[in-house]
Symmetry: C2
Subunit: 344 residues, 2 copies
């Protein structure tokens, strides 16, 4: 199959389909017994850093469900390691970065990286993934957006309540902007290298952007996002921007320059369509907890989403946030059956 | 001073002021050294349950800052204890409820309470607080909204990612609604008793409502909220409804029947004014992290909020969420100076 025929890529470029392409955030993850089997033997970072393992877990959900897109298995924090971050994942805890960034001299110490050197293992895994994926399945490469990356590095782990980050933003705005710009440069280089290695499309995760009020988002997040998406334009692959809990930022997201806007389950697709216009492709936005519900609930809520976007513009079906570890496999099967139709 | 002359109550009833009344969520809390001194000797629940201690910590921020309103020191989960919840607070952890609610028989076991009996110690503390407060400071009694209370009880502690709650909502909707109704009855009885004991106003915290997409909020949260606010009408005190991260729910919040809508820092007051109309009083919404910023930042952001509501309707100044433990005392002083004017 030619690249241009992949359903996901056609939809990401704005084509409309009655049965939209579908993939799920964190589709390679803990709800899959075959994933848990691998994680019994290897840590999360081991799997991220080993091309064979990363490729294997990326393939797992495709073998089971033949999603229309496959997202490379990795973590948004992986590229921070060659930049100087001392990253670890404790058992049952989230990420920990032991050398936090708090001052101008910390920012000055951040290393500029050449991803083709220092992240060679990730590029290697992307090559393997692309080679192993079926021809009709698009491979999505991803990175964290600078604001979200900075929030982990400044806070040294899970960022809530963002006290140090906001402290830096308010007391040392130039240093903070400098940090965002350094991260932004890395993101462009890294995503370019991923596309070279075989990624067919790009998604930028700005998980924590939703904590910003709109006037601060405009000042801090937007300039670096614009420069990233314009810096990726020449690659010729579709780009997606996702931010959780970001209904209040929707009008500004249009200005990022991303082709596709990923929405969480609280931003109704029909309202987003009005705000973003017909040319922006929407991705989302089933509440991941719906997959813990009954068959009737899953079918009803899936139909509701399909009808919200019905004929109004391009749409890629996804969850509004990552699939939950306790999700039954059968729920994913019901979801796919409802989207792809009973005849499929 | 007569009750009718309290600035907070006048504003809550819709009067407009150039310098609005101000209080802060969690104003009796860990940013105050005098509070930490008490917490060195007594646990959080000890302070909630002992009228002298609860009264003392409630007075602390009033002595320092003479806020226009005082919120009783307690926790939204306190009234669940006589209903049957086995509640504890671990050190550094959030609340834990060891006997979770998962089934119809669990809901059936919930005890109907008479707050004047089983929560006598809370009512006693409210009496003491009202007696000790200056005459121009309004006393706010509060409760958790049924959805938010249910989320703690069903999950057995911090509710995120709401897997059991949503599971119950989707698999056993009648049981879930029955749970909400039982909690709703308690809330009306409890808040009525607080007003009898001396509370001048009421605030209902629906902290987690923001995780609901609007169609589910309409189905599950709204009916019980309507019955609560209509059940409180005869008390003749102003009522406030607060939900975090709830910009997408604003149009429906108007239908709760609350006099005042409390907003978090992500819902711009001018947009909320358009959605809610001139008759709804707005409370909020400074980002609590702004108080970690420089004097210039605090003054600028405070002025921004004052100008957003300028002349558009009633306003009570508050943070968009609880004050952070690392907030410097001087930041609160700057905030008050900016709101009340340099001459004050």
């Amino acid at each position: 199959m030619k690249k241009d025929e992949m359903l996901y890529l056609r939809a990401a470029r704005g084509e409309k389909f009655e049965k939209p392409p579908v993939w799920l955030m964190r589709q390679a993850g803990r709800y899959l017994p075959e994933y848990n089997l691998i994680r019994k033997k290897f840590s999360f970072l081991d799997v991220c850093n080993n091309p064979e393992l990363a490729c294997e877990v990326t393939m797992q959900p495709i073998r089971r469900f033949h999603f229309d897109a496959s997202i490379m298995f990795s973590d948004i924090l992986v590229p921070l390691v060659p930049m100087g971050a001392e990253l670890s994942f404790g058992k049952g805890h989230g990420p920990v970065i032991s050398n936090t960034i708090r001052s101008k001299s910390d920012v000055d110490k951040i290393k500029k990286i050449e991803p083709r050197e220092s992240l060679k293992h990730v590029l290697e895994s992307v090559k393997m993934m692309r080679a192993e994926l079926p021809g009709d399945v698009a491979l999505i490469g991803f990175a964290g957006a600078p604001f979200t990356l900075s929030s982990y590095w400044v806070e040294g782990g899970k960022p809530d309540p963002f006290a140090n980050l906001k402290g830096m933003m308010y007391h040392q705005p130039e240093t903070f902007i400098n940090l965002l710009e350094k991260l932004g440069e890395m993101v462009v280089d890294y995503l370019s290298a991923l596309v070279e290695a075989g990624a067919d499309a790009i998604q930028l995760f700005d998980t924590w952007a939703g904590i910003m009020p709109v006037h601060e988002y405009r000042k801090f997040n937007l300039p670096v996002l614009k420069s990233i998406f314009s810096g990726l334009k020449h690659l010729g692959v579709p780009t997606t921007y996702y931010a959780k809990g970001s209904m209040h930022l929707l009008p500004e997201m249009k200005n990022t320059g991303a082709d596709v806007i990923g929405l969480d389950w609280r931003s109704p697709l029909d309202e987003a369509r009005v705000t973003l216009g017909a040319e922006t492709v929407l991705q989302g936005n089933l509440d991941p907890t719906v997959l813990l519900g009954s068959e009737e609930t899953i079918r009803r809520e899936t139909r509701r989403i399909l009808s919200e976007v019905n004929g109004s513009g391009g749409h890629i079906f996804n969850l509004g946030h990552g699939i939950l570890p306790m999700t039954p496999i059968s729920s994913v099967e019901i979801l796919l059956d409802e989207i792809r139709g009973h005849s499929a």
